[in-house]
């Protein structure tokens, strides 16, 4: 506990959170609207970082889990009118099941092979949504009868609170004894096994936790937008953004992913005058960060002496 109070990261995060909480007092309604999805996005990126940075699994398909959560929740709400809480619970459960399904090949395959399976999982999910358009709304998207709230401030604090709680949970997990074991499993499975850790069990758990937060955030985001479409929740481009956010913020930091996600969304807004070229500029900045400061924002701040 003492180390927590002495940690720069802890106080920095707290300060960031306080700033974010005070932001609606100064920020315009639009900037608030921009930040709301950014907060959910940050949870996606943090969940991805748990898998990549700690369990050592390169998941090219974060949107497989997110999409299951989002569509799971959206479909039961739109078709059976379950209401927000039950639908979110259902979507999250579906995502967790998807996480387990994804963990099975992960335990067998390595490197690019597992990466490809995750990519294919996304493509298959996208195809399923298109093929079963009667249920899913297909490419057209699914409109929901319910939304979380139409009030920006409510949505903002809900999203901020959700992100803070998820971040705290994921961060605490990563620093806990179980997180230490997970990191050992990700870095050197052979040595971790020789120390008596059941690598399969810990990796499976990491997939479940990552899927839980991805799915939950996906389900909540669906109820913020009030619609679900493959382009918003499943498309590979969305997954790419999440990976870039996590790498930009700093791998293996969990909290860095928040910085990366907020940076991507805010930079996209700031560069909007560039029109279509704003995506170009954001990608170029991200590429430059990867080339020049591969530890990412937070990684560079925290581990300046190259102890990556």
């Amino acid at each position: 506990m003492g180390s927590l109070l002495r940690s720069r990261l802890f106080w920095g995060s707290l300060a960031g959170l306080a700033l974010a909480a005070a932001f609606p007092l100064v920020g315009g309604p639009y900037t608030i609207g921009v930040l709301i999805p950014a907060f959910y996005f940050a949870v996606f990126a943090m969940s991805w970082d748990l898998l990549f940075g700690f369990a050592g699994e390169v998941n090219f398909g974060p949107t497989f889990l997110i999409g299951l959560g989002a569509y799971g929740a959206g479909i039961v709400d739109a078709r059976y009118g379950l209401g927000v809480p039950l639908s979110v619970a259902f979507g999250t459960a579906l995502a967790v099941a998807g996480g387990v399904a994804l963990a099975l090949p992960a335990l067998r395959l390595s490197g690019p092979y597992f990466g490809l399976v995750t990519l294919v999982a996304v493509l298959l999910l996208q195809q399923m949504v298109t093929v079963f358009a009667d249920v899913s709304g297909g490419e057209i998207g699914l409109s929901l009868p319910d939304v979380l709230s139409i009030d920006d401030a409510t949505n903002y604090y809900f999203a901020l609170g959700f992100m803070a709680l998820s971040g705290a949970a994921l961060f605490a997990l990563s620093r806990s004894p179980a997180g230490l074991i997970l990191q050992a499993c990700g870095q050197d499975p052979v040595e971790a096994q020789a120390l008596g850790f059941n690598v399969a069990k810990h990796k499976l758990a990491a997939f479940v936790v990552s899927a839980f937060f991805s799915g939950l955030a996906g389900a909540l985001l669906v109820f913020y937008y009030g619609t679900a479409s493959p382009g918003t929740f499943i498309d590979i481009a969305v997954g790419v953004q999440i990976i870039i956010a996590a790498v930009l913020g700093g791998r293996r930091t969990i909290v860095g992913a928040v910085l990366g996600a907020v940076f991507l969304v805010v930079a996209g807004e700031v560069l909007r005058p560039l029109g279509q070229m704003s995506t170009f500029a954001v990608s170029a900045v991200a590429l430059a960060v990867i080339l020049l400061a591969p530890a990412g924002f937070l990684g560079t701040l925290l581990f300046r002496r190259g102890a990556a």
């Binding site: 990549f52 390169v58 090949p105 067998r108 395959l109 490197g111 690019p112 092979y113 990466g115 490809l116 399976v117 990519l119 294919v120 493509l123 298959l124 195809q127 298109t130 093929v131 590979i236 481009a237 790419v240 990976i243 870039i244 790498v247 791998r251 029109g275 279509q276 070229m277 995506t279 170009f280 990608s283 170029a284 991200a286 590429l287 990867i290 080339l291 400061a293 591969p294 530890a295 190259g306 990556a308």
Partner: protein
């Protein structure tokens, strides 16, 4: 009749898939790089060929497309891949994910630039030969035959290069054992340059042919990269014959599905096959472990 039609159509599509994937697998075999800007470079070749064709004619356009892919291939290597490989602050076990992320971002930049300069609407390169040829009662665009022939000519040229020239042998040797090649006095750096040059030509030809055969848009970038990636993994990472075999498997599977089941389900069986093969035989058809 239907059988022959499937045979012909599948052949051309598969040849195009194969050509696109061969360059991709060659780069991986020799330098261990999975280049995720692959699709973007292909579409650049097609778009440049289309844009130049008006002023420079069909051949001039095709050459221009080829040159643009060649150039971009080197830019990809010098500006993205090599700095990551040489970076001291990237731990060696993470080079792979950094190369993947870096080339992905680079691909997005190219894609956005194409959309900005030439819109997202697909463009078709003027075919070198128009008209149709009837093969056994099946009316086939002559351009389709030409596409298949050019693909195989390019693959044949590559085979000759690898099998018959010293530089080609060195390339092959580098994919088997780069250290051994260094010990024999070959500069690996030059071998890498050579392989990126070959890649540039292959991907350029594939892009221009794709533009003439099916048309290409900046929206296709992701699909093209994903399909090359899948074919290469299916065939066995780094194996050129494996990639060709896989390209034909996927090409025919898709064509069969499109003809016999439904065009809208075209991709699904191939995806399932891919998952099954990766699960049962992760090294792919002809891959080494």
């Amino acid at each position: 009749m239907l059988g022959l039609q499937i045979l012909i159509d599948g052949f051309a599509v598969s040849a195009l898939y194969g050509l696109g994937a061969v360059g991709f697998t060659l780069i991986f075999g020799v330098s261990g790089v999975l280049n995720l800007s692959h699709g973007a470079i292909m579409v650049t070749a097609a778009t440049v060929a289309w844009a130049l064709a008006e002023r420079a004619g069909a051949y001039g356009g095709a050459l221009g497309g080829l040159a643009s892919a060649f150039l971009l291939s080197f830019v990809t290597y010098f500006a993205v891949v090599r700095p990551i490989q040489r970076s001291r602050s990237i731990p060696s076990e993470e080079t792979e994910i950094f190369v993947l992320t870096g080339t992905l971002l680079w691909g997005i930049m190219i894609q956005v630039a194409i959309a900005y300069l030439a819109t997202t609407s697909p463009h078709t390169v003027r075919p070198l030969i128009s008209g149709v040829t009837v093969i056994g009662g099946v009316r086939t665009p002559t351009n389709e035959i030409l596409t298949a022939a050019l693909c195989w000519a390019a693959i044949g040229a590559l085979t000759l290069l690898i099998e018959r020239t010293r530089a080609g042998k060195a390339l092959l040797a580098a994919s088997v054992n780069p250290r051994g090649l260094t010990l024999l006095g070959f500069e690996l750096e030059r071998v890498h340059l050579l392989v990126w040059a070959i890649y540039g030509v292959l991907v350029g030809v594939a892009g221009v042919l794709l533009g003439a055969f099916l048309g290409a848009s900046s929206d296709n970038v992701g699909t093209l990269t994903a399909s090359a990636f899948s074919i290469v993994v299916l065939g066995g990472l780094g194996s050129v014959p494996g990639s060709l075999l896989a390209a034909y498997c996927i090409g025919y599977l898709e064509t069969l599905t499109a003809y016999l089941v439904s065009p809208s389900l075209r991709n699904i069986p191939a995806l399932i096959l891919l998952v099954a093969v990766v699960w049962a035989r992760p090294q792919g058809f002809l891959g080494r472990r």
